[in-house]
Symmetry: C2
Subunit: 346 residues, 2 copies
């Protein structure tokens, strides 16, 4: 089924979260158009993908969180507080922590960061977490990963009180996520879910391919999307395929071509190319890869999707940067507010 | 690609767990044959599927468990003991419990069943579980499901000590299973894994479709098969699709036709038909459905797979009854012995 080329092919539009009905209508039109094309076997014009702006969507979520925080405080409740533990002096970890506490501050969430040297023992760290678990002034608590090699990350993740675990990495939160129970959902999967919901992408009975099976990203995305929409924590009711580095290239292509939604979370630049995507599919790029630009020689951020190629064929696409990334931090803040709310009633 | 018909098509062979090398060699031959057929576009004879006898395989696992139990006891350790809680007088539940305790007895595992009336309160039940958790004479503990409506099954499952939870339904065991950590694996998914391993069906990089997403069967099977073979609890490293009742029929067919392994765990008689299966695929039938026989009018057990049709095209197939079922009870016993071993070192 060869796609016809029109002058519109190289254009794309920015979709912000304020006008989704508009874009849903456009998508319906686009689908009708597609169907007509199939029937007529004739060339008609088509539009390139709706580019979902994560930056715009994050702004809207920020406004919602700000409103929620102010309502809590005005109601006489404590201001939500995020406790952060940072071990060592890894520059990337420092940047991530700074971004998180800065976002918290903008949204009216107070925070403090406890910095420990790389030499900190696991026992000391567990004691600190225990203290923060019992501190009623701390609504949500996260330990920035990765940790030095002598500390067992799993032991640390499981030491955080599940109801304060804003990263959603505690074993009980993982179990609950898989069972479709209310739990802290890790920020990146929550961001993917939010994009799908706010953009109005249908999931029920749709075919979803998730490339990547990491415990904090790919796997929870697959759990959110395949589970029952009538469960305590509603799922997407989609058919979901989990692909990963053992998936042969040809098999991946065969499966992505059938997918209504492709979620790329493998950490492989250019993994998803235009020939792998079904016409009109939603393509969500969770990859964040630093590659050297061939022209400038400078490092730049790219996703797992060949954006320029795929946007000509997809129905929706998220860019990198400016797609899933900005929403991820917003979802962490949402979890912090949820933890503060939980503390009010328990 | 039409399959050629030969006098051998209606025959099938029983595969027992003692001669898998023989069958693997046959499968290789079969594949070679298949590939030649594709190249030549000529009619050659083919064999129907290897029928994997769960009854035979269970016998072998029983012998292994018996040996392990005797080694434990001879070594001066306590005989593994299974504690069972049965609530109410549901005849099916009674039968299941009787089958389990009978199997335990045959394998040298002692057991006792505490029967409570339907009117038992949740608190009473939780107290009983707490008592059995603390009882060092109980190695493994299970509460037969379903429970009366006034009792929260999830609360009961989470009350059992994870290390005694031979059903593997505790939230921590579910979380660990998803993370690829050593945990109690629920018996039916463990049985499917055992069939795949003992039959020598390859999983790495293979395309698996699991029809059914139940929390005790379909989901854990998908977890076992997609996870990393180098993790603490080795996984299958397969690409895995989770399909379920929201999956449209045509989409299911499209996906099963690509699958190297189809696992039917939907509870829908005749869900998987011959037109949905790839030539040479392994088809594992986890369904147990009671249907009325058209000729005799009597109830009989059938799986989710149209056995007679599919066996002519598949490479491996498990029958119902006599496939996954007998191995399920064996895996529960394996879990009980594992719990007894765990208690020795903790």
């Amino acid at each position: 089924m060869a796609a016809s080329i029109s002058p519109l092919r190289s254009s794309y539009r920015i979709c912000n979260s304020l006008s989704f009905h508009h874009y849903r209508a456009k998508l319906r039109m686009h689908r009708k158009c597609e169907s007509q094309r199939r029937h007529l076997h004739a060339s008609v014009t088509r539009h390139a993908a709706v580019v979902v702006s994560g930056t715009e969507m994050a702004r809207q979520i920020h406004r919602e969180i700000q409103r929620e925080v102010e309502e809590l405080v005005t109601g006489g409740n404590m201001r939500p507080h995020l406790g952060v533990v940072l071990v060592g002096d890894d520059p990337a970890s420092r940047t991530y922590v700074r971004n998180k506490t800065r976002a918290a501050s903008i949204l009216g969430i107070s925070s403090d960061t406890v910095v420990k040297p790389t030499s900190v023992s696991q026992d000391e760290l567990l004691e600190l977490i225990d203290k923060m678990n019992r501190d009623w002034k701390v609504s949500g608590l996260l330990v920035q990963l990765p940790l030095p090699g002598h500390i067992k990350e799993r032991a640390v993740c499981n030491a955080i009180a599940p109801e304060k675990d804003v990263d959603g990495f505690h074993i009980v939160n993982i179990g609950k996520l898989c069972l479709g129970q209310t739990s802290m959902v890790p920020a990146t999967p929550a961001a993917v879910w939010e994009i799908i919901r706010r953009t109005g992408i249908e999931t029920v009975g749709k075919n979803v391919l998730v490339a990547g099976r990491s415990k904090n990203v790919g796997l929870p995305i697959a759990m959110l999307l395949h589970t029952d929409r009538n469960h305590q924590r509603p799922g997407g009711d989609a058919t979901v395929t989990i692909a990963h580095r053992c998936t042969p290239r040809e098999q991946l292509k065969e499966l992505t071509r059938l997918a209504d939604i492709v979620i790329a979370a493998a950490g492989v630049p250019g993994l998803i190319t235009v020939d792998m995507v079904k016409e009109g599919a939603a393509v969500i790029d969770v990859g964040i890869n630093r590659v050297q630009d061939r022209t400038t020689g400078k490092l730049r951020l790219v996703g797992d999707v060949d954006f320029e190629g795929v946007k000509e064929k997809a129905g929706f696409i998220t860019p990198v940067p400016g797609g899933v990334g900005p929403i991820t931090v917003a979802m962490l803040m949402k979890n912090t507010v949820a933890a503060a709310r939980y503390a009010l009633t328990h």
